[in-house]
């Protein structure tokens, strides 16, 4: 099968040619890349190929089985939609990094060994950082900086885990790992960070709302879902994930209810949705894994749709806060319709895509007799509808009229949203094709009377609660504020750390500067120039007996270098490297 080019390479190499082209040619070229990748995918048989020998290890760029294929398909489909949505953006930085990013996600999906996995993993982190930087505002720069720091930390955890794993097992190939020993824990933490498992989640709600309008679409689809893929590959059936996942579905919805920035609401609901997937991976039965994979598939589409429709609002009006928006259905009816389709899909309404996938995970929890988990997941399902299903469209397109009058976004954006919306409905109406490509044979019927009525009751009475809470004046006011999350620890805590380090290390620095850099060389300088009088001065100082000599001038050495503290980045990197060293030396 070596006649085909790996799909990841199509994106990564293709990205390099984008800046060379202009106008329609460029648009056509970018749209052809995912089509080519999809054609390649369709023709890829199962097996392991594209093996390159490197330093006595085999790099496997093509580990193709049912699990990796599903993610391969959806990553290519969403890349096509994302590229179409971003087609009119005149910024090569965004195009190139988005394509690299998609290539990285496909690379992670199909790599069969840890070396190539790690390379693509880092490519994901770096290329997505540029999608935040490309917003080119002060806040986005700061958010991008925090984002890359967090991902460097996660990447180093993964790398340390990989080293221990290779040391123990003697091979770079991997499939199921399971939690045993320090190496697997480090790998687990590395993946968990990218999957935004609390308390390692705050980078997501911090960074995604700061990304560019089009960049956020790619980000919502790729980083967390490639982590879901990897988790499903390496840690299925890990009981810890059931509880972590259940917590992950519930915790973010409280934040989402309070949040004012619409895209941050979506970021929180993204964490909540990945929670369902983590729970499914933790349960680990065939039904649960099928549910997880299909939910990832559907989730990528409706989350991209939601980020596109709210992104369109941001693009057309420059505003994205609940407090600033409202009444936009009047001038953006199509965008509004697409947003509602996305909202209905994430809420898992019957005939919308979430319904046919999420219910598999919840059923799997019921089959496993996990009562508490089942109740939490149902609670979270109602909660999702509350914030993502109602709050997002209501405060953007309805609610109080903000007075904003605008237009629909450009045709390519509408088209991209239209395709995603069509797929959201089509998958739900005809779930067969999706069920056919899942890792295990599917024996699941989503549309039973009890399930449809039960789900509709859960959602509609959740809506009734929203309605009555608003009318009774109990609904929390939308306000411009920050809600503290675990990023406090590195945003404020980091500053405290910096302050302490500044006082301690710079204190040492200043002392060293006074004694070693100034006093001693100054005196030695004097000594070498006027040895006799210097010694006499010393004698005088020590004994207190006077000679008539000029006063000793120790400030002869000019200011050599600035002794300002080095960047925190360097310091943090050093700390990480040191930890890595400790792990490697003492534990491996």
């Amino acid at each position: 099968m070596n006649s085909l080019i790996p799909p990841a390479a199509i994106f990564i190499v293709g990205a390099l040619f984008v800046p060379l082209m202009r106008g329609r040619l460029k648009s056509a070229f970018m749209l052809v890349l995912p089509v080519l990748a999809f054609a390649t995918l369709v023709n890829m048989p199962e097996g392991k190929y594209w093996i390159v020998n490197f330093l006595d290890y085999d790099l496997i760029f093509g580990r193709v089985d049912k699990l990796s294929m599903v993610f391969g398909y959806i990553f290519t489909i969403v890349s096509f939609i994302g590229i179409l949505f971003a087609l009119k953006v005149e910024d090569d930085l965004q195009h190139v990094s988005a394509l690299m990013y998609a290539g990285g996600a496909l690379g992670v999906t199909f790599s069969g060994d840890f070396f190539s996995l790690y390379i693509f993993w880092e490519l994901l982190a770096i290329s997505s950082t540029f999608l935040i930087l490309a917003r080119r505002t002060k806040t986005s720069q700061a958010a991008a900086f925090r984002y890359i720091q967090v991902h460097v930390f996660g990447g180093l955890c993964l790398l340390a885990g990989i080293m221990v794993y290779i040391h123990d097992s003697g091979t770079t190939e991997f499939s199921y790992i399971g939690l045993n020993g320090i190496g697997s824990w480090l790998i687990f933490i590395g993946i968990a960070l990218n999957a935004a498992i609390p308390p390692l989640h705050p980078w997501l709600q911090d960074a995604y709302p700061e990304a560019t309008v089009t960049g956020a679409v790619f980000m919502s689809a790729l980083t967390t879902k490639s982590a879901v893929y990897l988790m499903a590959r390496t840690f299925p059936g890990t009981e810890l994930l059931i509880w972590v996942g259940a917590f992950m579905t519930a915790m973010p919805i409280f934040y989402a209810v309070l949040e004012n920035d619409i895209r941050r609401v979506l970021a929180y609901s993204l964490i909540n949705q990945v929670g369902f997937m983590m729970c499914g991976i933790g349960i680990g039965t065939a039904l649960a894994i099928n549910g997880t994979v299909s939910h990832a598939f559907c989730h990528i589409l409706y989350k991209a749709l939601l980020f596109m429709s709210t992104g369109s609002v941001l693009y057309m009006t420059g505003k994205i806060r609940c407090t600033d928006l409202g009444g936009l259905y009047k001038t953006m009816p199509l965008t509004c319709l697409f947003c509602i389709i996305g909202a209905a899909s994430i809420s898992a309404f019957p005939l919308f895509s979430g319904f046919i996938s999420k219910s598999m995970i919840i059923s799997a929890a019921a089959h496993g007799n996990l009562i508490a988990v089942w109740l939490i997941l149902q609670f979270a399902s109602a909660g999702v509808f509350h914030h993502a299903g109602i709050k997002v469209p209501f405060f953007t397109f309805f609610g109080h009229d903000s007075g904003i009058r605008t237009k629909e976004p450009p045709l390519n954006m509408l088209l991209a949203m239209g395709i995603a919306a069509f797929l959201c409905v089509a998958i739900a109406v005809f779930p067969g094709p999706l069920y056919d490509i899942l890792p295990y044979p599917v024996d699941y019927v989503p549309y039973t009377g009890a399930h449809v009525v039960g789900q509709l009751q859960l959602l509609m009475f959740g809506a009734l609660a929203f309605c009555l809470l608003i009318l009774a004046g109990y609904y929390p006011a939308e306000m411009r504020a920050i809600n503290l999350d675990t990023d406090w620890f590195y945003r404020k805590g980091g500053r405290l750390f910096y302050y302490i380090m500044d006082k301690v290390l710079n204190g040492v620095n200043r002392l060293a500067d006074r004694v070693i850099a100034r006093a001693i060389p100054g005196w030695l300088g004097q000594l070498s120039r006027t040895p006799i009088s210097s010694l006499m001065t010393l004698y005088m100082r020590v004994t207190g007996k006077g000679f008539a000599t000029e006063a000793l001038n120790t400030e002869t050495r000019p200011e050599a270098t600035s002794l300002a503290p080095m960047g925190t980045a360097v310091l943090l990197s050093l700390v990480f490297l040191f930890l890595l060293f400790v792990v490697f030396v003492f534990l491996a």
Partner: protein, 44 residues
């Protein structure tokens, strides 16, 4: 924020509509009681 930037709304609160508080309280009470019965029934 100074008042000069009054164009950007700082808070969007939801004023109660008369009568709905009562409706809400009644519905909530009924729902909680019924849910309590459902959950506790196996133990009674």
């Amino acid at each position: 924020m100074s008042e000069g930037e009054g164009k950007e709304k700082m808070i969007l609160s939801h004023e109660p509509v008369p009568g709905y508080r009562k409706v809400f309280h009644i519905v909530l009470l009924v729902a909680v009681l019924y849910l309590g019965i459902i959950f506790l029934r196996p133990f009674l």
